[in-house]
Point group: C2
Chain length 357, copies 2
C-alpha cells in the first residue's frame, strides 16, 4: 500500500452514465479524469438495474438500453482516455493545506486532485451480505460475493459448496460449481439455499437446475442461514432454519453469497455536508456542493426542481465542468466552443475538421 | 381569416431540437402540443446552419449531424402527434381574463393555450431582404424568397428572371430558371446579380453555372441592387450599381431573392419582459419566465451559469414540462415516472411493456 499518490486535476466518483459524460465534458476542457467505481465495470445503475431493458427518454435516442447507453457513453468519452479504477470504494476525502483534496479508496489507491465530481447515483453497488456473525473473517478465502474475482475451478474440486440466493446469479453459481470449468462434476456437494423453493431465473437456467437436481448434483434447501461455525481458522458449517422450522447443519468449504447487490452511500454521507432527502444540495449555476471543490452531479444531488433523470445529469455534469475550470486552470479563459465548429475540439476528439460537404 | 381559435394546453414556439424535445416531454405528461415555426420544416438552427456537419456532444450519441438529430427527435416525439404549424411567425400574445394566453400568427392562426413554451433559439429564421423601397408590394407575386412555395415552372416561361445572391441557393435558383421543369430553356433571360463574380457553391453547381454562362443562358452581373421601378402595379425593372461604379437598369418579371436567412427575434422581444443579453431570464426550478405561463427553453433563455448548448435545452424543456403541469392540470398529481418501467408511459409511447428478457 505504498503506491505513489496519483496527482490529477479531476477525480470522478461513479462510472455510471453521468460519470462517463463528466469525463467527456472535462475532456472538452482538456482535462483528463480518474474515475472510481465500486463495480468492476462501467454503467452504474444502467448496468446493475436495467442492462437490457429499453430506455426511451435519452434525448435524440428514441430507444436504447442500459447496456447500449453505457457503450455509447464509453465511446464518446474514449478520446479523453479516462483512467478507470474499478472495484474500489472511496474511503476518505481530506482537504490539504494547499486547498486540494486527498482521496483514498479501500484498496489503498490515493489521489490528490483539484476538483472532485461525485456522480455516485444512489450510492455504491455493494453485495448484500447475510447476517451471520463471524462470517466476514472468511471473506475472500471461503466466502465469495458477486463481482469478486472468479475462483480458480480447482479450488472447488472436492469441496462442499453452498450457494445463498434465489436469482439468476445464484442458480448460475450452483450450476457452475457442479460443472466446474471442464464439464465434469467438480465439487463434492452443491447446496442451493433459498427461503423458498422458487427461483427467479431464465427458463434455460431453470431447466438446467431441474436436470442437476434430478441427477443428484444440486440439493435445494428451502431455508434461511442463521449462523456459521468455524473450526479453528476455517469456516466449517452453516446452520439453517428450514421453512418447516427445523434446524439443520450443513458442511461448507466455499460459500457463494448471491443475495444481489444494493446501493450504499457509504462514507460519502459523512463528508460534513448537510444532506437533503439523502441528496447533496448544489448550486444550479456550478453544481458545486457546499464543500468547495466538490461537485455533485446526477441522482446524488439536489436543487429546487430536481428530477432524477439521466438527461438532467448530462446538463449538470456539463455546467460542473465549466465551473471547475476556475479551480483546475484559474489562469485559463473558459470559452464555450462548439464541437461542430471548433478546430481545437476536433483535434481533441481526434476527428478531422471537415469542410462544408 | 375566420378560422376557429385552436384551444389547447400547450403551444411551443420553435420546431428546433429543443422545441421537439419539449413536445416529447409534454407527451410523457399526456399533453399534446401545437408547434409554430417560421421555417417550412423542423430542425431550427440544426437544419439552417449545420444540417450535414458533425455534432459530437449530444450525450450518448458520439456523432450525429443537424439533420440526423432532427430526424431522431421527430421520431422520438412522434408518439405524441404534435400539430405542426410551419411557415408562420408569431405575431402577438395576449393574456385572457381567465389567465390563458391568446396567440396569433402572421397567417391568422389563433390559439388559446394554458401554457406557452418559447423554444425560439436565436429567433425566427427569416429571409434577408434587399433594401429596395417599394419592393414589398410585389412579394408573393413577382418577388420570391427562400422557403416560399415553389413557383409553377410555366410562370417563369418567357419571363425576365433576376436572382440576387451568391450562395448555393442563388446559383441553384438561376439554373432552375434556365432549365425550367422540363430540361428546356424556360425563362427569356436569367441574370444572376451578386456583388462579386465569385460564388460559394458546390463544385458541380459551379460547373453547371459555367456551362450555362458559356451557352449564354445565364448572365452574371457583379453589382448591387439600388432601386426598383414599377410600371403601374407591376414590378418592371431593377437598378444596379456595378463593381465598376456604373449604373445599369435590367428588366425583371420575377425577382428571386437568395440572400440567405437570418434569425430575428421579432415581436417576442417586446412581450413585456426584461431581456438580459437579448435572452429571457428564467427560474432554474421551472424555466418559467417573469410572465406567468410563458416558459423559455434552449438558447433563448438566461440564468446564472447558462451555456447555449443543445443538451442544456433538453434538461430545461424537461423541467419546464413538469412545472407547466400546475397550469395545465392543476388537479393532477405530477409524478416522476421512468420510461424504462412505467406501463402507462409504455402505453403512451406505443411500445409493449416488456418482461425481463
Amino acid at each position: 500500500m505504498t503506491a505513489a499518490v496519483i496527482e490529477t486535476d479531476a477525480v470522478v466518483i461513479g462510472a455510471g452514465p453521468i460519470g462517463l459524460f463528466q469525463v467527456f465534458q472535462l475532456g472538452l476542457h482538456e482535462v483528463q479524469a480518474h474515475v472510481i467505481d465500486a463495480l468492476p465495470y462501467a454503467g452504474g445503475q444502467c448496468m446493475e438495474l436495467y442492462p437490457d431493458k429499453p430506455i426511451y427518454d435519452i434525448p435524440g435516442t428514441p430507444v436504447t438500453t442500459g447496456r447500449l447507453l453505457t457503450q455509447s457513453l464509453l465511446q464518446q468519452a474514449s478520446p479523453f482516455h479516462p483512467v478507470m479504477h474499478f472495484s474500489q470504494l472511496v474511503e476518505s476525502v481530506q482537504r490539504l493545506d494547499d486547498g486540494r483534496l486527498h482521496i483514498t479508496t479501500h484498496t489503498g489507491t490515493r489521489f490528490t486532485t483539484k476538483a472532485l465530481f461525485v456522480a455516485a447515483g444512489v450510492g455504491a453497488f455493494v453485495p448484500r451480505k447475510p447476517l451471520l456473525p463471524g462470517l466476514e473473517a472468511f471473506e475472500g478465502t471461503q466466502v465469495h460475493y458477486p463481482h469478486d474475482a472468479p475462483l480458480a475451478p480447482d479450488r472447488l474440486a472436492g469441496a462442499d459448496v453452498v450457494v445463498l440466493g434465489g436469482d439468476e446469479s445464484a442458480v448460475a453459481a450452483a450450476l457452475e460449481a457442479v460443472h466446474g470449468g471442464s464439464g465434469q462434476t467438480s465439487a463434492r456437494s452443491v447446496t442451493l439455499v433459498h427461503r423458498r423453493d422458487v427461483f427467479a431465473a431464465e427458463p434455460a437456467t431453470l431447466q438446467a437446475l431441474a436436470a442437476a437436481r434430478a441427477a443428484g448434483q444440486i440439493r435445494v434447501v428451502a431455508a434461511q442461514a442463521t449462523a456459521c461455525t468455524a473450526d479453528g481458522n476455517r469456516l466449517h458449517s452453516l446452520q439453517l432454519l428450514t421453512a418447516e422450522e427445523t434446524e439443520l447443519s450443513i458442511p461448507v468449504d466455499h460459500l457463494m453469497v448471491r443475495l444481489g447487490v444494493s446501493p450504499k452511500m457509504g462514507p460519502i454521507a459523512d463528508w460534513g455536508w448537510t444532506l437533503e432527502r439523502k441528496q447533496v444540495p448544489v448550486s444550479t449555476e456550478t453544481f458545486e456542493s457546499e464543500i468547495p471543490g466538490i461537485f455533485a452531479v446526477g441522482d446524488i444531488n439536489f436543487y429546487p426542481g430536481k428530477r432524477k433523470l439521466i438527461l438532467s445529469g448530462f446538463h449538470e455534469a456539463t455546467l460542473a465542468a465549466f465551473a471547475a475550470m476556475r479551480l483546475i486552470s484559474p489562469e485559463k479563459k473558459v470559452l464555450l466552443q462548439y464541437t461542430t465548429t471548433s478546430p481545437r475540439l476536433h483535434q481533441l476528439l481526434g476527428v478531422g475538421t471537415q469542410e462544408k460537404s
